[in-house]
């Protein structure tokens, strides 16, 4: 054996040699194929029975713009209701009280177990069940007047969303280490304060990606409210094509707007994720 400091012969010096660039033939080939297919599809649509000038003309018409505003207003309000219900139901579900637990489980079962469009129709037609609603002796009103398309859509979408959001929230709360509850209890916090101050802020980090997903779903689910006359984007687009018969053109207009909104939401979600990642991503000082 040689003495330790001397290195063995036969291993050439590789420093200064570059790693060669590979040609990646298959990537080029498959990319070219995809471009060809897309070009064929674009050609088919260009030569099909579509008047593209109508798409351009109706893209920014007032009724369509009102529709997208109504869509966003409804999506935001219904999502807020959904998140509020979701948090409350998730807390109930994780509570030691069997009554609260069962109520929460029943709510999730009922509203997740029936189609959203059916729930919207039920809310809108509530007047058929209860002609007048109110608090006995204090206030009452005709249900048809109260249950406007707006309110029916808000309740239908929000309450349905709450059933899904509660499961997302529950998963988020379960993801927080049990030691965090104990540490909060050890400094005298009750269950609800520990949830609000310690557990929920940490759960938010976990639930924002699925909630972003849910919100994108909500933006599109508002289109179902067109069946109960809520003047959102799809409903307004339909109203235009009932008059001028440019069905495909207006559906494309609506589709473009949905795509645009969802494209804007994705970077917003990333900003929100960064906000709640406090204390986890920063490099050590």
């Amino acid at each position: 054996m040689k003495p330790a400091p001397a290195l063995a012969e036969g291993f050439p010096d590789l420093s200064g040699m570059r790693i060669a660039r590979e040609p990646h033939w298959f990537r080029w080939l498959s990319a070219a194929l995809i471009v060809l297919v897309l070009a064929a599809i674009a050609r088919a649509f260009a030569n099909g029975q579509i008047e593209w000038s109508y798409v351009g003309r109706f893209l920014t018409v007032k009724v369509i713009l009102e529709g997208i505003v109504n869509t966003m207003v409804m999506a935001v309000l219904a999502m807020m209701l959904g998140i509020f219900l979701g948090i409350v139901v998730a807390i109930m579900r994780l509570s030691p009280n069997p009554v609260l637990k069962s109520v929460a489980a029943g709510y999730t079962w009922l509203f997740r177990g029936t189609p959203l469009i059916l729930q919207l129709l039920l809310w809108f037609n509530l007047a058929l069940v209860f002609p007048t609603i109110g608090i006995p002796g204090l206030w009452s009103a005709r249900a048809v007047d109260v249950m406007t398309p707006f309110l029916a859509a808000l309740l239908g979408l929000g309450i349905n969303q709450g059933a899904y959001t509660s499961e997302v929230m529950r998963a988020g709360m379960l993801s927080v280490d049990v030691g965090q509850y104990e540490a909060a209890q050890a400094i005298g916090m009750g269950r609800l304060r520990a949830l609000r101050r310690i557990v929920l802020p940490q759960a938010m980090r976990v639930v924002i990606p699925p909630l972003g997903n849910e919100f994108i779903g909500m933006v599109k689910a508002t289109s179902l409210a067109s069946v109960i006359q809520y003047p959102e984007l799809l409903h307004n687009a339909e109203n235009i094509y009932y008059a001028n018969s440019r069905v495909i053109e207006l559906l494309i207009v609506a589709g473009l707007w949905y795509l645009l909104v969802v494209s804007i939401l994705t970077p917003l979600q990333m900003l929100l994720e960064r906000r709640f990642a406090r204390g986890t991503l920063r490099p050590a000082r």
């Binding site: 104990e182 050890a186 400094i187 005298g188 101050r197 940490q202 000082r285």
Partner: protein, 254 residues
């Protein structure tokens, strides 16, 4: 005549089939530093957790500062206290966990001020000044604005000690405070605990650090299979154990 700060009487606790505590009785006197030693599963951590009610006992009673914990007697029966009442009783104890359990979304300073401001409802600026003083005391004045993830294990544990002290507890409970630390970080945490012991704080420490027990503890309690096997002065229990089981444990550990 002084009374014990903690009086534990005939306490039993089972987790399913497993009996974690069997009819344990013990007094802890004001100003006393007590080290609980024993193999894992011997019940020492459970006993500690029963005192701040993270674990509820099945039978027996624990009095802290003369007050029965977790239940109240009425008409010959025991009634469980409400969550608020238990929370109020917990304020008399500070707990330091094996895995630190700092709040990761809050800075070191915020971890310490959270309890006094949110639970005790004290003024923010006054609490802040006290928290900074506590951080200085545990040698981390410069880390007030660091998040737990930016601190070493030893630093996190020292913040956790400061967090517990901020509630001005009468009794500090330490659940294996150095077991999760890299060996070179153990010393800094023990130093803080020694300083605390010197200041006259009543402490119950579950630990495997026999050196610390020998140096700091007024009393060492050896537990095995949910029962207290032997207790006494540190030099006696660690230096000249009477019980066979204590001897076996000590020879296995050292």
């Amino acid at each position: 005549m002084t009374k014990p700060l903690v009086a534990i009487r005939s306490v039993s606790k089972s987790f399913g089939e497993f009996q974690a505590l069997k009819n344990v009785s013990l007094d802890v006197w004001p100003g006393e530093v007590m080290c609980l030693i024993g193999a894992s599963g011997s019940g020492k951590t459970t006993l500690l957790r029963c005192i701040n009610q993270l674990t509820t006992i099945d039978a027996g009673g624990i009095w802290l500062d003369g007050e029965l914990l977790g239940v109240r007697e009425q008409g010959g029966r025991l009634h469980r206290l409400s969550e608020q009442q238990i929370g109020r009783q917990r304020l008399k104890t500070g707990m330091v966990f094996q895995r630190f359990n700092l709040f990761p979304h809050k800075t070191a300073l915020e971890n310490i001020t959270e309890g006094p401001t949110q639970v005790q409802g004290r003024k923010a600026d006054e609490v802040r000044a006290e928290a900074l003083e506590l951080l200085r005391r545990v040698g981390l004045a410069a880390k007030a604005d660091s998040y737990p993830a930016q601190l070493s294990g030893g630093q996190q544990q020292r913040v956790a000690i400061a967090r517990a002290l901020a509630m001005k507890p009468m009794l500090m409970l330490f659940d294996e405070p150095t077991s999760a630390l890299d060996p070179e970080l153990v010393g800094e945490v023990l130093a803080v605990m020694k300083e605390l012991a010197k200041s006259g704080m009543t402490m119950m420490v579950v630990t495997h650090e026999l050196g610390f027990a020998r140096e700091v503890a007024d009393r060492v309690v050896y537990m095995d299979q949910g029962a207290i096997v032997e207790q006494g002065r540190a030099s006696d229990v660690l230096g000249a154990p009477r019980e066979e089981r204590t001897k076996a444990f000590l020879s296995a550990v050292i």
